[in-house]
Amino acid sequence: MTIKNTQARWGWLSKVFHWATALLIFIQIPLGFYAESLRLSPLKIDVFIWHKSLGMLVLLLVIVRLLWRIKITIPIALATSRLEKLLASAAHGVLYLLMLALPLSGWITSAAANFPVKLFWLIPLPPIVGPDDGLKSIAAEVHEICVFVLIAILVVHIGAALRHHFMLGDSALKRMWF
């Protein structure tokens, strides 16, 4: 298996990016809701440190992933129609946007609430904005809207992958897997 993509297959680096991010996102969504549901306590704070740490890892991964993506070949879409092809690339585009917007809005929420963060209890996360109650509410709202858009698109995204694999019987899922 090569590091680079071909017209037919994903290279291993793209696969690692995709599945590492997917795993983090599947942890992040329940973790975020859990953190929010807790009453103010040391536990809530620790759960939020996990949430913010893993979330910033997503941001780092997606930036490197996009830089990598610019440089390499993208496998040709396995769509059955032009509309499908358009929808798939639109969905992927929005997923990339959300992988940027979620950590950024979370970072702004946290900084505007004047809450210092040490990622993984080690690395101080510099405040991206100063304390600001108004901005904090807006960023938290954006974060939440992004979460629901993400969940909706992921339902379609995963549904499409399963459709390709089980109904169309093509290699869409296989070529993204190892």
Binding site: L40, S41, P42, I49, N114, P116, K118, D133
Partner: protein
């Protein structure tokens, strides 16, 4: 003989004159002045720490009274409205007023009253020792500060100290451990004093 007698007389006269002057020096009091902090120009800051990172905050409402003679401050009195604590966001501000933390509903005011003010190491440096009352707890603390006339009418008073939050039952129960929220809280102030009218 006469010479020595005159000498003795002269010496005792001089000596008695000198001691009279000495006594007078003690009797004549230095004029004292009452000073108070200008609320708009004075700041009382505090910074708890979270995972060893400071959260900078300030008490927005407090009063400071100082009695001083021309040489040095003689007494320092401070009252702080605890509900005015501001850590920069409504989330944090609500949290610190809870019962485990400041509990300002029960303990609205903190106060410091000096018992003694001593000269510090450097010029214009002083150390006030006195009782800090905070959240119903009392502890003798030292408040080091500089005291400098900034112009004819104002005195600038700047100082910094560290308080242990455990000494004042701030952050009790599940928050007692200093792992997340540090036990030491930095407190510092930049005051502009002016002559009190009353």
């Amino acid at each position: 003989m006469v010479k020595t007698l005159i000498q003795v007389l002269l010496i005792s006269l001089l000596a008695s004159h000198a001691s009279a002057e000495h006594v007078a020096g003690h009797l004549v009091q230095q004029p004292t002045e009452k000073w108070k902090a200008n609320g708009a120009k004075s700041h009382l800051y505090f910074a708890p720490s979270f995972e060893e990172l400071p959260i900078n905050g300030a008490f927005k409402r407090f009063t400071v009274g100082v009695i001083a003679d021309q040489k040095q401050p003689q007494s320092l009195n401070v009252q702080v409205q605890i509900a005015s604590a501001d850590l920069g966001s409504s989330d944090l501000n609500e949290a610190i007023q809870m019962v485990d933390w400041f509990d300002s509903e029960t303990f609205a005011e903190a106060s410091f009253a000096s018992e003694d003010i001593a000269m510090g190491q450097a010029e214009n440096q002083f150390i006030a020792t006195g009782l800090l009352q905070l959240k119903g707890m009392k502890k003798t603390i030292e408040v080091p500060f500089s005291w400098q006339a900034s112009n004819h009418n104002n005195i600038s008073m700047v100082g910094e100290l560290a308080l242990g939050r455990h000494d004042f039952a701030i952050g009790t129960g599940e928050w007692a451990s200093g792992d997340q929220i540090g036990l030491a809280v930095r407190v510092w102030f930049e005051l502009v004093l002016e002559i009190a009218d009353d």
